[in-house]
């Protein structure tokens, strides 16, 4: 065990930092869920990233990546958040579908889909949930009917993040007549294909971050199926593993927020109406962010040494979602009567980030589901 960066790692950090200092937009972009303009501004940023060779640093060169290791990836993320660079509008593609494609895709599929994903030329939405299938994903009803070399897709997807403005979506579809975990396939479809209707759903902060998607006889080539026909559940579980695991929520995000919180505390602590007990919560937020970072470094080291991620990934999901809420609640308590106000331009947007944090325990598999997974698969408690 040696918790010091190598000179090469230090040099890499310096390189990232210098590039970001020169390229991160000086004015924050409008949120990608707020409007089509905001979305397109983020797509342009993805293209800028790609030009700097920062599209997906861990992906192989041939798929638009840079072939670096996980520690370098963490360093990149740290600098990225530190520079307050724009949110990754293509996160559903690069963090969820990308790794799954790498594992289950054919060479042709990888060649076709990965490079434009890494460059932001094609932005992806996820289409997991349906009105009757949320936590219980095996309850999916949308169908894929085989017709020669094509599938005909029908159904109703909902809570599809990014789908209002994105280009492509991936989701589970079942063979007509199949039940539960059998007969499902993971299939890609263009969001502008004939037969696709998208309705925006406003989130509680007013952004149109979700869509519901209606599919009526949408024809896609069988080439768009990832993995074998009927093996969708298996492929989907792997994707969920990535979602919970290393990639979805960078520790850097919380370390930056914890540092902002410490600043907020410093600026407020002397005021008479500040609760002195909040000092403990500021320290707690710092500890939580540190612990999450250390845990991710430990996992990255283990993966680089050949280990695989198991059900303990579910502990990540619980930890970051709960620390995020705690951190933002502490900030709101410090803000007192200012807490309810929408932020002024340029200021740290505590209230909106709090609202966003509240979704953490819900999405990507609710924390109730994650606790079941920990209890059953990690601790070995009986299912029934």
């Amino acid at each position: 065990m040696d918790l010091r960066y190598t000179p090469e790692q230090d040099a890499f950090r310096a390189e990232v930092r210098a590039w970001l200092a020169n390229n991160v937009p000086s004015e924050p972009l409008e949120h990608y869920d707020a409007s089509a303009e905001g979305f397109e501004a983020h797509r342009r940023w993805e293209s800028t990233l790609k030009q700097g060779d920062w599209g997906m640093v861990t992906w192989p060169r041939e798929y638009g990546g840079r072939g670096l290791d996980l520690i370098q990836w963490l360093i990149f993320e740290e600098e990225y958040y530190r520079a307050k660079a724009p949110g990754r509008v293509n996160q559903n593609g690069i963090f969820l579908l990308g790794p799954t494609l790498m594992e289950f895709g054919t060479d042709e599929q990888k060649q076709r889909f990965l490079p434009p994903m890494a460059s932001g030329a094609e932005i992806w939405a996820q289409a997991w949930s349906e009105p009757m299938a949320g936590s219980d994903l095996a309850g999916v009803r949308a169908t894929a009917t085989r017709d020669g070399d094509d599938y005909i897709l029908n159904g109703h997807k909902i809570w599809s993040s990014r789908a209002v403005f994105a280009d492509w979506a991936f989701g589970l579809f079942r063979a007509p007549g199949s039940e539960r975990h059998q007969g499902m396939s993971l299939i890609f479809f263009p969001l502008d294909a004939p037969g696709v209707t998208r309705n925006a759903i406003r989130k509680i902060n007013g952004h149109v971050g979700f869509a519901e998607i209606f599919l009526e006889d949408v024809r896609v080539p069988a080439f768009n199926r990832l993995g074998d026909e009927g093996q969708g559940w298996h492929v989907c579980m792997a994707t969920a593993g990535f979602e919970r695991g290393l990639m979805l929520r960078s520790p850097a995000r919380y370390q930056v927020a914890a540092a902002e919180l410490a600043k907020l505390w410093e600026s407020r602590k002397a005021e008479l109406d500040t609760d002195p007990a909040l000092e403990a919560e500021v320290v707690r937020a710092f500890m939580n962010a540190e612990a999450y970072a250390l845990s991710i470094y430990q996992t990255a080291s283990a993966l680089m040494a050949g280990a695989t991620i198991g059900p303990e990934a579910s502990t990540n999901k619980i930890f970051w979602s709960e620390l995020d809420i705690h951190l933002h609640r502490t900030a709101l308590a410090l803000l007192g009567p200012q807490a309810e106000l929408l932020s002024e331009p340029g200021a740290h947007d505590w209230i909106d980030d709090y609202i966003f944090a509240l979704a953490g325990p819900i999405y990507a598999g609710s924390n109730e589901i994650q606790r079941n997974i920990i209890a059953e698969r990690m601790l070995g408690l009986p299912r029934k």
Partner: protein, 343 residues
Amino acid sequence: MDFTLNDEQRMFSETARQLFANTCTPEDWRRQMESGSPIEADRWAAIAETGLTGVLLPEDAGGLGLTELDFAMIAEAAGYYALPDPLIESAGIAAPLLAAAMPDAKVLSDPSAIVAIAHPINPLVSDAEAAQVIVATKDGDSWLVERDDARLTRRQSIDPFRHLYSLDFDTLKAVQLPETDWDIALDRGALFAAAQGLGLAQRAVDLAVEYAKQRQQFGKPIGTYQAVKHHLASAQVAIEFARPVVLAAAADFAAGDRHSRARISHAKIVALEAADAAARTSIQVHGAMGYSWEVDVHLFLKRALALTNSWGTPVFHRRRIMARIKSEPLGPDRTFARDGVEA
């Protein structure tokens, strides 16, 4: 010693509850969110007509001369239905303050008039734009300001029904008020925020219970899962142990002593905590639905957040309780104690 509500009190609060139930439906909320209007004219007319704006005004000023306990139950109902209109701040806090300072103020004779209050404890003024007059402090004195003489700047709250303004005014154009007890106004503000908190909390739980009975996952309603049950049970426990505190604080309001002030503070803290916890639980139970604008549970979350920090933050109220702990004897014989009265 009698801790029960009488029939008259129950009936009156039931009337308010019915009025809000009929006029604050999800459709009404959405219409008002779109319009951005601080009041909805028909509803406000019904509120004034039912006498809700005059509950705390003396009978000789055309009011009903009722007590803070009666108004607290109206405030609870207002919380339950997320009433958008400024009934609580105007009729529960601002108008009684004005009536005590200037009983013959003309605005008090109009039951549909809105009085706003710029209390030093709150940096911003609610619904100042919709008000006819604003009661305010400046340079240590108390003033009555006509809305048109006030300089108002809108600040956006996360709660779509909160219309907040920063206020400035010229004392030359305002009427100075005599003997104004801003502490009593603060107590009323805190007490009625607490009562609203009870209503917000119960509604958030009720919405989640309804959803959990219907929503199916893994072949059965999610309300059959122990995790869902236990989250909602915990939220309900918090409500059950906030309600008697709010009622006792309201009943003892008139005492105005350290004990009753500490109880108001206690009510304020725990009722808003219950509301916040219930709203978060409700969002969690609703899953992605709870995170969408179309499901109304976010209104209760936002209102709870706003009220938590209005009329004294939690630490402000905690300090008032600590002051009572330090200055008066503690013990089981002191639950209903008043200053200077030995148990």
